[in-house]
């Protein structure tokens, strides 16, 4: 039986497995105290630490060594210690630093949400609203790129890429042939294939799902509709690919399946990666066994016209502070 440690995040104590990161400990509590993450992806080994949006203040290192950590730390890569105390939304320093990160991320990411095909599903859009500034102080020319078709199903538009490396990790870890990666360095860095090769392998479509912004998009769906006009439905099929279990979300407009994606959890991460056949080639209702409407968070723009009964967040253990926090969270989700 593995050892448990206690960590307190914004005054809420939770008991987690030893070796859990601060971010994942916060995710076990849920609500506003979960730091945002643009590059971390729990399903991808080695991800995280790069975007710096999840930085938090460790005001007490542990019971054994209560000294605070001198700098803000990336919560997605820092593991908890027993007795650790972490400040996230209760630290003005963290909020200021995070606003700074947002401003910096938006330097080379255009706020062209009305145009971008990721509108409504963009993590950076949400991050900008929740943690950013009203305007940017950057006044120089942005870098621009031509759109590149990497294969017949995926389009890359580097203008919107925030270099989170998630797609590179997917290609490294999920597919059997990586033909794209990071070229150049500094703010000249870009995602690219080797001399615009096609990304062709059974799982390549997953790079689209992990992209937090609109840099990698599905050409079979691109600009066919806005996501908030579609109706997501959980479905499955007996997929004969050994690594794919065929569990997906179908995105309907009327009777047509416009898009197929992997299912995502409450943190926007793919639950299980799916193969390209399920994603790109099975667009008929007859291909699928329909399960139920997909749960969409009430705070998401996609939730328009999707009505569900609201439930309080999961309570891990009897803890008044935690329950109070959960009730506050619940109140925020109540529709008036």
């Amino acid at each position: 039986m593995s050892e448990k440690v206690k960590v307190t995040i914004d005054g809420i104590t939770v008991e987690v497995e030893n070796g859990t990161t601060i971010l994942n400990a916060a995710r076990q509590i849920g609500g506003d105290i979960v730091p945002p993450a643009m590059c971390y992806y729990s399903k991808l080994q080695g991800s995280g630490g790069k975007c710096r949006t999840c930085i938090v203040k460790v005001s007490k290192g542990s019971e054994k060594d209560p000294r605070p950590m001198p700098k803000l730390v990336a919560s997605c890569r820092t593991t908890v210690m027993d007795g650790m105390e972490v400040l996230n939304i209760t630290s003005p320093e963290v909020l200021e630093a995070r606003a700074g990160v947002v401003e910096i991320l938006l330097i080379n990411h255009p706020l062209d949400c009305p145009v971008c095909d990721q509108a409504g599903e963009c993590d950076l859009q949400n991050l900008g609203y929740e943690h950013g500034l009203q305007k940017t102080r950057y006044e120089f020319e942005r870098r621009t790129f031509e759109r590149i078709d990497i294969g017949d199903k995926i389009q890359l538009h580097m203008n919107r890429c925030i270099l989170c490396y998630r797609c590179v990790f997917v290609a490294d870890q999920i597919t059997n042939k990586r033909v794209h990666g990071i070229l150049n360095r500094g703010d000249h860095s870009e995602i690219s294939t080797y001399i615009q090769q096609a990304v062709e392998n059974d799982f390549s479509g997953n790079v689209i799902d992990v992209c937090p912004v609109g840099a990698l998009t599905d050409k079979t769906f691109r600009f066919k509709n806005r996501v908030w006009f579609t109706k997501p439905v959980d479905a499955h099929r007996n997929c004969d690919h050994e690594k794919c279990n065929g569990k997906v979300t179908l995105w309907y407009k009327g009777a047509d399946v416009l898009r197929v994606t992997a299912r995502k959890d409450q943190f926007g991460e793919v639950v299980e990666f799916i193969c390209n056949t399920c994603r790109f080639d099975k667009k008929a209702t007859a291909d699928w066994v329909i399960e139920q409407p997909t749960h969409i968070d009430d705070t998401s723009v996609i939730a328009s016209n999707h009505y569900e009964t609201l439930k309080p967040l999961h309570v891990i253990q009897p803890n008044q502070a935690l329950q109070d926090a959960n009730e506050i969270e619940l109140l925020k989700t109540v529709k008036y």
Binding site: G48, R52, E103, D187
Partner: protein, 455 residues
Amino acid sequence: MGRKLLLEHINVPGINTLEVYRQKGGYRAVEKALKTLTPEEIVEEVKKSGLRGRGGAGFPTGMKWSFLAKPEGVARYLVCNADESEPGTFKDRYLMTYIPHALIEGMIVASFALGAKVSYIYVRGEMMPQIRILERAIAEAKAAGFLGKNILGTGYDLELYVQPGGGAYICGEETALLESLEGKRGNPRIKPPFPAIAGLYGCPTVVNNVESIAAVVPIINDGGDEYAKIGIGRSTGTKLISASGNLVKPGVYEIELGLPVEEFIYSDEYCGGIANGKRLKATVAGGSSVPVLPANLTLKYANGEPRLMSYESLSEGGFATGTMMGSGGFIAFDEDQCMVRNTWNFARFYHHESCGQCSPCREGTGWMEKVLHKIEHGHGKMEDVDLLWDIQRKIEGNTICPLGDAAAWPVASAIRHFRDEFEWHIKEPIKSQQQNYGIANYAVPIEKAPVTEEK
């Protein structure tokens, strides 16, 4: 005359060859270490010496060695960081060029102390002459039985390799160096784990600077206690300083730590004063990444006491009135130098060298450079100074590796100490293109006459 430990025989003809190096007492430390000392005793001597890392961070070397994990059946590595590429720092290149065997001897002793059977010297790719010099010296040492199997009949085996680096500044950061050494893109790793636990190929690894490793030789020859007698306080021993800028005699000097800064700049033994009879305006004491200091705070503390060339003295007063020893890249600026232009120049370097892995450094360094370019070229706005201050604050401490801090500190210190010069550039865009701000407008102008040393 200051005591010399590393450069004592620098002027001896042929000191770069094994034969002459041995005639001058070379490889005594290897014989002593391997034949009479245990690895633990060597680590203890280095601890006693008080030697601090000469690459910039100044962490106690012996303590760093003692952190090395020693799991059974797992290889351990020593890696020498010879990727020196900070603007203003060129001491390691000098040492490797003229006394390569000092580094190789130190590598053998340190590898033995750490239990490494294979060690690497990671040299910046552009330093091809130094790579050839080291390879030749390694071949000489191997032929003489100081490397390879069963060194000096002691049963200890060591293979030493020189690895050319990728030619990127970031590869001098120890974890990026390890990535590069493994043949990958030179991106810094996120710590923990630290290299002492999981370094090269996932094995426990110590990464030390060239000068730190070379300093192990006199420590073993004379004992850690003797070494600790040199210097001042916790800044023990000697330090190589690469002096550049507007000095009468720029070059590489070996100083005893604790030497007054004023003496280092103005005495004939060292830099010989400011060139062309000009006055000193500012200095960068430890390579371009450390805070720049105006002349008055370079020579004296805020309370008027003389400032010394030591880790503690240079950092006295924090960043408000102090700086850092860093890698010992001492740059002097005379009264004709433009601090805005210099700051822009440093910012250009860090923008160019950012690896691009984490957002504050990738985007923030470029932003700072563009704002500085604007101010320097007469297109600045008054709020740009505060904007610059704000950008550097967003970078400092928020990045994966210290390159973000290295980019932020020169900008922060330039604004802190020379804000009026930045504002003058903005208020007088045309005049600032035609003439320098100088130091005439400073509240405390500094004028130092050269110090004549008593012989």
